[in-house]
Symmetry: C2
Subunit: 291 residues, 2 copies
């Protein structure tokens, strides 16, 4: 496996982490942004529906939406067994892609089927060379190095509320949760961050995305919010010694909630001003009023 | 937090992952190797006993051993609360160190107390610039990006047998387990690798170490074995869908067991020949006969 991807001149592509249930019928501002980042009318997009139990239907739906949004080409890379995922032929469409989109479903299925395969290496390499990689729900969780595999809902962090597992490793700084407000996941995201406050926790609501550029500036796109949990200044937590299922104490975690158009500097760990860009189109303003 | 450590000319230091219970009274070949890698009589070593509940005693013991083995200087960096660990003064001895050694105890305590602190950044930076970083037991587990936080013993992998958590991130390719043969941990290491076969599983026995150089060649040093679990060619596993505590199926994992003096290429995922170097000293040969 190569130890680095892309030469010194290549610029890493954007990441688009979608919280699930993104609009596929209306303005489709998230999926439209994804197609734009992939090159618009020159976009060569690969849909990876591996996470889903209904991969065929899911792939057909995204194929139709991306084609309708003007992509030049849409291919599908799927596998039901790891034996199929090991086939080097699966890597080829990914190598040529300007955008790769991972569907929802079970994030552990993506990691166990794709991890360490030629297709996963191709995915990391194409991202390192500039392609946009996006995912929704399970497909968002799997983008990062440390992945939330599963957990329990709730506002208060408890011991063993969250189970981590290795993801695809396209970013090492974040741990991404999805369906965030809708499934009451702030407790598990705080518990995950407390395990090693090096990580910045990112909770993405449904029909909302964090679009991360090569300089690690993240922009919120969509209907609801993205919640950032920063544990770097935590002064106390007993997560390493709390009994199973006990409540966990966390002092001095910092939380930010950002809405459409707002941006966050991942490296500096702070939101950027101004809050709302002046150029927000009318259709998007309506969305903001609809909450 | 800086996004990279060391300039283009710096060579990453070695890693020394010890399986616990290493000899501190006899030939001490593992700790001696650590001091040699830190510069021998010029070594400036920092002992980090944070994992331990008896940090004072543990630190005193390693301080005496490293001094006895000829190190020029031995400092101790300890913290009981994260509030102390956030103090930038803690980073200073680490910045000046040629070797850092992490004691045994609870690996989650190291990650929760040190993660994201100036001391953790200093540790990554000094390693990137050439310092050796070693750890025993919990201190070995925490070296890697993906860390086994805890789990259950047993030879057969079962669902939720192993719980992962983010470690210190000094290597991204390995997941390290310790007290390996002695605590019957091959099941949990296989389960961890199946979660994402990108990882190479490394199970280090007691009084044994894997010494990893900057080219990702690992050498086994000590009394027992190091077991490598390579999942890249796994053709089937149901780890993403097995019920809690159910047995998990894994087809075509590859396992290597290496003993003293043998080397393993981490990137190519294969053992190197010859099996035993010609220059093995008599004292070490005796150790090999003692199993």
């Amino acid at each position: 496996m190569p130890s680095n991807y892309g030469g010194p001149d290549s610029v890493r592509g954007p990441l688009v982490a979608v919280g699930g249930a993104e609009d596929k019928l209306g303005d489709r501002i998230i999926l439209r942004r994804f197609v734009d980042l992939a090159g618009g009318s020159a976009a060569r997009i690969v849909v990876v529906p591996i996470a889903s139990s209904y991969a065929g239907e899911v792939a057909d739906r995204y194929r139709a939406v991306f084609a309708d949004l003007g992509a030049a080409q849409v291919d599908v890379v799927d596998a039901v067994l790891r034996e199929q995922a090991l086939d080097p032929a699966l890597a080829r469409p990914i190598e040529a892609a300007t955008g790769v989109f991972l569907s929802g479903g079970n994030q552990l299925k993506i990691a166990t089927l794709l991890g360490g395969t030629p297709a996963a290496v191709a995915l990391r390499r194409c991202h390192a060379q500039g392609a946009v990689v996006g995912g929704t729900s399970a497909g968002a969780s799997v983008l990062s190095q440390h992945m939330i595999a599963f957990g329990r809902p709730g506002g208060s962090p408890t011991q063993r509320m969250v189970t981590l597992s290795p993801g695809l490793g396209l970013t090492n700084r974040l741990i991404i949760d999805q369906h965030f407000r809708q499934r009451d996941r702030i407790g598990r995201l705080m518990a995950a961050v407390a395990l090693n406050p090096f990580l910045l926790g990112v909770g993405v609501d449904e029909d909302t995305a964090l679009v991360l550029d090569a300089e690690n500036i993240g922009e919120v796109v969509g209907r609801h919010s993205v919640t950032f949990v920063d544990g770097a200044e935590i002064t106390y937590s007993d997560v390493y010694q709390a009994k199973q299922h006990a409540n966990v104490a966390i002092h001095n975690a910092r939380v930010h909630v950002l809405t459409h158009g707002q941006r966050f500097d991942i490296v500096a760990r702070r939101p950027l001003s101004p809050a709302v860009p002046a150029s927000l189109p009318a259709a998007e303003l309506e969305l903001l009023d609809d909450d």
